[in-house]
Symmetry: C2
Subunit: 408 residues, 2 copies
């Protein structure tokens, strides 16, 4: 059955390039912040395209858009798919957008074939996935899943003092559908990988089985400022070399929990910051990620022991504070298996998502999984973000085939 | 002979505490920037004290003060000693000041005993050793030795736009003596160690045989910014972990050239500086010091090899640039031996100065060496700088005895 339905890669690419004009930047990227004029433009385009395709578009109280195609069993819950159309301040043409427009392409392909599924189909565009204008990220899939409350989201303020609620009304997308009332039979999100694995392995499809658990911790190292010329190596309490030891310990702990574990120190400050003064203070912000909750706990325990050893060996104080922890997400086996079946003719791998996505919130409401396609050099959140027409088409084809397996 | 002449430790301490009032700060330190009103006050006090002690005070064109006591051989060049009376913006009561006031105490002791040396004696107060108000440090011993030119020093400007020359005239210390015309038979500078070695070893006197050579180098590490969640450890080009490896290599290279060699990274910047982004760029400012010139060269060579290995292993670029190099200073064996003979009854060690001092410039004009006494926790350039009355007295005693050995 599904072999006969081939998505139109050129039509999909055309949609991607056409919508890339809304907020286009000089280097090929897009600035399309949530609830901006550019977001209104792409939403208007999307609504019109959906209506042209015969879909019924509804909008909920935080601007999430749902475009539904009836099935042969009107009592059945819809199989849903989609992502988001907003971008980072200097984002790319694919992050989120591919998932929505590939969904539109799947609908158009079904229309062209006159094929009607048993379950209804719903194509979703979630508001403010990026969190760049209003924080946090994945804001409105979070409200949809009721992990976040609507009232503080509507009251949240951008850098210029405008509220989410005012801006949502201004662009005409404060909808009347009750938030979260619409629940799905299953949800599938197609997305660029935002990492380098598929490209490096020359694979086309990632079958995403879950998301990493996340541990954030902050640290302060307290040594002793002293004169770089007069203090011998043996009498130093150098916060910089202690920080170096901590950074290499973070790396080693992650490697020992590899290949799935990762660890990063992304932000450091070393004081007083003068070439000929031994630093007395260093602060750092670090994180570990792992798809297995026990492994993430083991990383935290191992790191605490390493830090204690470094502090003792170097005569410095190291205080750390856990600032955030999120358990791993495990996607639904039925949806994962449907994707795997749909992907069997493409070079593929099962993998974990390193980044956050709307699907992680939706997963708490219905069986959910994700499809990844490669992006160039693993780069995203950047105007240089790039994906090939062939990979976008492959992703759309796997999305369509997965949806057909789920919606019959 | 010299055993009979004992300096008066209480009188010396009294001088230190009396002059500490000029620019006194609440926590016990001093703010007495070069050519400030407070500097004028301490200079006026010093001039009067010298004249009371029968010395002839002259001032050169950059404000260096020379107070001379005649010898029995008026044709002989003077044996000189002294240091500086200016302080850091929040400095201590001993840095520089001890060397000048211990010299005054030595003169007073000779006066009390009616003892006249063969060589004349000259007590020196050099202008702006600290370099805190007008840069660089050791400014006017540098002009005295003709390593620096007078004209740019007189034209140099403080943070409020006032020139050195204007301020020197304003406080009345633009002297008429030709700069550098007065040369000495020998020069001895007593100073607090500004490091922890003597205190840690419970020793009283450091016989300073020279100053370290210095190598400054700047580095830029170029990796690849990427997503901390989606980039596996094996595919990272992390500038932060490369910086950590460089910092530990600096430490190891210094330790391998220990105990005299030291190495420090005092300033770092890691970009873009976000917890969940792997840093793509890191910059650092580093230095090595060693009293042996060949060893300093070997440290530089070894570090270059380490950096090349780190860059290759981690797939990052590391560019370094040597920004400054100063050869080691070797003090005169005759003066060093005289200090050693004078120090024989005190717990002592031969050592190298890690910090810069006026004596380093004077050393290019006449046989020179230095005497160190301990300071608490090695701390200086800080209101907490502290030295005991007993150690100050011991230093003054060794200074007097050294001067008597040199001046006969």
């Amino acid at each position: 059955m599904t072999q006969n339905l081939r998505i139109d890669g050129e039509r999909l690419w055309g949609s991607l390039m056409e919508t890339a004009a809304f907020g286009a930047l000089p280097k090929g990227g897009i600035r399309r912040l949530a609830l901006s004029d550019e977001d209104k433009m792409v939403r208007d385009w999307f609504r019109a395209a959906c209506e042209d395709a015969g879909l019924t578009v509804t909008v909920d109280g935080v601007g999430n858009m749902f475009a539904t195609r009836p099935g042969t069993r009107p009592d059945a819950a819809a199989v849903a798919f989609g992502s988001h159309l907003d971008t980072q301040p200097a984002g790319g043409k694919f992050d989120g957008i591919l998932g929505v427009l590939a969904g539109l392409e799947a609908i158009r392909t079904l229309n062209d074939a006159g094929y009607v599924t048993e379950h209804p189909l719903t194509l979703a565009n979630f508001t403010n996935e990026e969190g760049a204008r209003f924080s946090p990220a994945m804001m409105c899939s979070g409200v949809y899943s009721r992990d976040l409350e609507a009232a503080p989201v509507l009251a949240s303020i951008d850098n210029e003092g405008r509220t989410f609620g005012e801006e949502l009304a201004r662009i005409g997308y404060a909808g009347d559908e009750e938030i979260g009332a619409r629940r799905f039979h299953a949800f599938v999100e197609l997305h660029i990988e935002q990492g380098p694995l598929l490209e490096a392995a020359e694979e086309t499809i990632g079958i995403v089985t879950g998301g990493q658990g996340l541990l954030w911790f902050d640290g302060t190292i307290t040594g002793q400022d002293s004169h770089a010329g007069t203090t011998p190596m043996t009498l130093r309490r150098d916060a910089m070399t202690a920080l170096a030891a901590v950074a290499l310990a973070v790396e080693d702990v992650a490697r020992q929990h590899g290949p799935a574990g990762v660890g990063t120190i992304g932000e450091v400050h070393v004081l007083p910051g003068s070439r000929n003064t031994i630093p007395g203070t260093a602060t750092f912000k670090a994180e570990f990620r792992h798809p297995d909750n026990d492994a993430l706990g083991a990383m935290e325990t191992m790191m605490a022991a390493r830090i204690a050893a470094i502090a003792a060996e170097r005569g410095v104080g190291i205080e750390t504070r856990r600032s955030f922890r999120k358990d791993p997400t495990v996607f639904d086996p039925m949806v994962v298996d449907a994707i795997a079946a749909a992907a069997k003719d493409f070079p593929h791998r099962r993998m974990i998502s390193g980044a956050g996505h709307d699907a992680f919130y939706v997963a708490s409401t219905c069986p959910t999984a994700m499809i990844f396609v490669p992006c160039k050099d693993g780069i995203s959140h950047n105007e240089l973000e790039s994906a090939t027409p062939a990979d976008c088409a492959a992703g759309a084809q796997v999305l369509l085939d997965t949806v057909l397996r789920l919606a019959r």
